[in-house]
Amino acid sequence: MYQSRATRLLRTLAGWMVVGIFFFPIYFWTSTAFRSAKDIFNWPPKIFEFTPNLRNFEQVFGVTLGLGPQVVNPGGGNFYMAPRLLDSVIVATFSTMLAILVATVAAYCLSRMQFRGRHHFVNWVLSTRMMPPVAVAIPMFFIFKQFSLLDTFTGLIIVHALMNLPLAVLLMKSFFDDIPAEIDESALIDGASRWTIFRRIVLPMAKGGIAASAVLCFIFSWTEFLFALTLTQTSIKTVPVVSSTFVTSIGTAWGNMAALGAAAMIPAFIVVLLVQRHLVRGLTMGSLKQ
């Protein structure tokens, strides 16, 4: 289709504008991490004119890079949050693995097996997402205390996996539904067991869907606040919870908060990059029915 030069230019401009609108908050937040308090609170705000420094990162990671005027007390400062990034990585990774493991099997059963109340089961799974998390958080606290799961990795991983499970099951069910059942039937005729069909045939075909579900589970766990706040104390803390500790009685340490936030984007970004190959296919899988 012919498009005039002006139309193409306009379309490109519109594209750049959309990218700019999405990118600007990320730029502003990340650049805040490299600003001193004076530059952060400049009035009127200076978007590009500031003297970058690594002080906020030094404090958050408890290291002295020797580029600034002050030495950071390693591991001792109030804004030393590097271990909390690791806590977040552990919780998000393992809760995603657990959720995907259970959800894959459950979704396959819901997609392929015929049993009484199958459709009700799907609705039941969905209904668990309708409950406000705050209504669950406090009972969870009591239960976890009784089972000594409070303030432990195991506890938080279980909760995050449970929280993500309904979404993962429903997503993956739609991906499995998208794979023709005839393939399973042919394999069955050839003598393959259900487990072999699932492992050797269906699972590889649903890789894209699994990747997309895993990315969503990881991001939800990475950004979850309420359970992480209620069910942890001092042993472990995730990034969203410790981010709120930059709010002090004498103001908010925006620079440090931005430094942690900028650093926290990296693991999620890496996860997306790792599964990027499957992601686009996964996100569009299940959108077309035969």
Binding site: L67, Q70, Q233, T248, S249, I250, G251, T252
Partner: protein, 497 residues
Amino acid sequence: MKDDDRKRYLASVTDRFAKGQMGRRQFLKASAALGLAGLGTSMVGRPSGLFTPAYAQDTLKPSEDVMAWLRDVGKPFAGTTLKMATESTPPSNAINSQLKQYFEEATGIKVEIEVLPLEQVLQKLTLDVASSLGTYDLYYIDQSWAASFSRDVFDPREQYASNTALAMPNYNMDDFLPALVDGIAMYDDVMVGVPYDIPIFIMIYRKDIYEKYGLKAPADLPELLSNSEIITEGEGGAMYGTTGQMKSGHYSLECDWTAWLWGHGGSIFNADKKFVGNDDAGLEAMAYWDKLVKTMPAGVNGWTWDGQGQSVAQGVAASMLSWGEFFPYFDDPTQTKVSGLCDVAVPPKASSLRNVEQTGFGEIPGVGHQGGSSLAVSRNSKAPDAAWIFMQWATCADTQALITTLGGGTGPTRASVYDDPRVLGNARVGAGTTRHLNVVRETIANHMGSEPDLPEWAQLSSDTIPVGLGKYFAGGYGSAKEAMDDIAVQVEAVMKG
């Protein structure tokens, strides 16, 4: 040279060096003269601005007497782990990042401090009390929660008297400023912990701007208003006379309101325990506030104390009646544009003032609104004795002096700490200054206002009242009277449960 003199000299040298009034060579020479040659040498390789507060922190250590007592009394509790939830305040941060290591080394007791924003501390403590599980051994109790937690913590006077073997020698309960004990810790004759920190409203103003317009620190509230009007008009929008913490629905808005209310002879409750913020004095305060808001920067009704402090720190406002804790931050040349330019004064005198007998629930009217907190041992703690040892150590005079010096000039709650040489040694322009503490002490003694103590206060102060006031400043009411009458109705509803 005496140790105190040496510290003072060091502080002065450091300050001059940090402000660029002294060259590196001179600084190293002075350091060497103080016996810090090693320090000077170690810093030569660093790129610039070489002095770090880390050195000063290294020289500040707990007294040997305190450490000996800790070693002795803490031995049976070695291996215990204590947990405490606290707001991120200068004392808690100083203990958490720099001081608790001494306690842990001496006693073998591990201390885990969970630092959270204030509202999350309340949530955690409420959950702990409701569950009676004793997940926290020590409670950080904001003065507005004293009534709510009064039955859930030990009275420190009883703890001190009942277990002499664990009592810290020279702990001296009487050293706590009596006004703070009354205003922060006492509820129905129960001492809800000991005063732990004391943020309090003082007058902070830009001396250079005030001098430019031939003004002096406001002696009373009308003078604060006229000073602010003169500056706002004179600066033509480049700077405002004063600022506020007026975020709708936030506790900070209630704090500002009480200062103007008390300063105009009003009170939140009367002797019959009825809300009277809508009486004549209350409306007079609102009229004053309406005028004062016109001398504040636009957007002030979206700020808590955070934005208020930043508006002064970045040179947008010339004064604030607010938490004294901000002052050391203003003096930090690496953080603000106003280092050395601010000065402090006691709050402007009230036009008239009710006495405690005319108010309800132990409310103490005074323009110097205090927002202190206490530290207490939970009755559900699994290790109350170990927690009591920690609490005595954390609130003893020696630790408080270290907290004040390391924690950036926060106001001590003990009288003796104000005169401690280590604290006095930091009374110079620069980060963590203590040069405002005399004003803080005088404000506590003569101008302090305290909120009422009642179990519903946490809800009233953080929700009912600031939501109503926020609605008023957003234009949601036709008049101040309509707003205050509506708030009165809502307060009564909360009180009735």
